[in-house]
């Protein structure tokens, strides 16, 4: 969790310092891609906490989701249908799901036994 926050902050600083910008026309695609990337990072943190982190899945998800989201936004623009809503809802929803899971794991880890916490989570049916 903290590593991600620190990473995003460091990245933001680097981004501000870099002179490079892209065309404003692409901003919609990039913003949807950012959402997908954020979701991937949250998913990565969660799987790391659940001890089933896989580099391959994480990296492919990171780039694949971002590209797919940007592609959806692009196609939607061409067709005149706001298809990027699909990406926003999916990744936005998953983002909160992942965050909820991270929160629970993290909070439960502090107080109780981790195994017990996981068991409780499974009982509740929440992640």
């Amino acid at each position: 969790m903290f590593i991600a926050l620190i990473g995003i902050l460091v990245g933001a600083v680097i981004g501000f310092l870099l002179p490079y910008t892209y065309n404003t026309a692409y901003s919609l695609y990039i913003s949807v891609a950012i959402l997908a990337c954020l979701d991937s990072v949250f998913g990565g943190i969660r799987s790391n906490l659940e001890n089933n982190f896989s580099v391959k899945i994480f990296v492919s998800g990171f780039f694949g989701n971002a590209l797919l989201a940007a592609f959806l936004a692009y196609i939607g623009d061409r067709l005149g249908v706001p298809l990027y809503y699909a990406a926003i809802f999916t990744f936005g929803g998953r983002l909160f799901d992942n965050f909820a899971a991270i929160r629970r794991i993290w909070l439960n880890k502090r107080g109780r036994d981790k195994v017990r916490a996981n068991k409780e989570l499974k009982d509740k049916g929440e992640f």
Binding site: I3, G11, T21, V41, F58
Partner: protein, 241 residues
């Protein structure tokens, strides 16, 4: 790859996300609302409207420059101020309806339904009303009529057209049927505006069976307005819009 610490990878990719976010923020995109067809159309209309306004303003500028030129000429003594004022007076008299005008146009003869049969449910449907005249006048004005008269009463800015029972009143005078509406302008256009299928005149004639006979005329004479313009309350506020 597999031996790497997941935290490092997460950190690296977080940096990528951070770079993307900050780059996006640097662009200062106000709103990324998608362009819908409707908003596109609205913007288009706005642009057309603004362009028209610019065009009109340019025309006004041109006009004012010409005026300025005239005034400069007067100042230099190349033109006589009396002549210019005379021209001005003529223009103003023409536009206020103080002069008789002549030109091509149409003449419309209107009379009540002469048939003994009553059309429709109401006897009122068979007679000409003030509203009918007003609608015809409006159609003519839209078609670019430059001067209009009804039974030799010039229609000016203050002309009223009201119902007075079997007659209508215009410029304070009562007139009865038949009505002769004369209009100067592009004859074909004026004719089309009252005679084409679906126009008010056409409906009057074909549905209500009211006498409505427009005819093209090479030359029409429209008399001057004979009343007075009295301004008790309104006061002029200099020139300009």
């Amino acid at each position: 790859m597999k031996n790497q610490n997941p935290k490092i990878i997460l950190g690296l990719f977080s940096i990528i996300v951070g770079i993307l976010i900050s780059t996006q923020m640097k662009l200062k995109v106000e709103s990324i609302a998608p362009i819908t067809l409707k908003s596109l159309q609205t913007t288009k209309d706005e642009i057309t409207f603004l362009n028209n306004e610019i065009y009109e303003m340019e025309k006004i500028i041109e006009q004012k420059e010409e005026e300025l030129q005239t005034i400069m000429d007067i100042h230099k003594g190349e033109e006589n101020i009396v002549d210019i004022l005379q021209d001005d007076l003529e223009v103003n008299m023409t536009s206020s309806g103080r002069t008789a005008l002549e030109g091509p146009g149409i003449k419309i003869t209107m009379y009540d339904n002469m048939s003994s049969e009553i059309i429709g449910l109401d006897i009122n449907d068979d007679v000409i009303h003030d509203v009918d005249i007003l609608n015809i006048l409006n159609d003519l004005k839209i078609a670019g009529a430059e001067a209009i008269s009804i039974n030799d009463q010039r229609v000016v800015a203050t002309s009223e057209i009201i119902c007075g029972g079997p007659i209508i009143r215009i410029n304070g005078k009562s007139i009865g049927t038949p009505f002769f509406i004369k209009a100067i302008g592009d004859p074909k256009l004026l004719m089309a505006s009252v005679n084409a299928p679906g126009t008010y005149g056409d409906i009057l004639r074909s549905v209500y069976q009211i006498g409505f006979e427009p005819e093209l005329q090479e030359s029409i004479r429209i008399p001057a307005y004979k009343g007075n313009f009295n301004y008790t309350y309104a006061k002029p506020v200099g020139e300009g819009e």
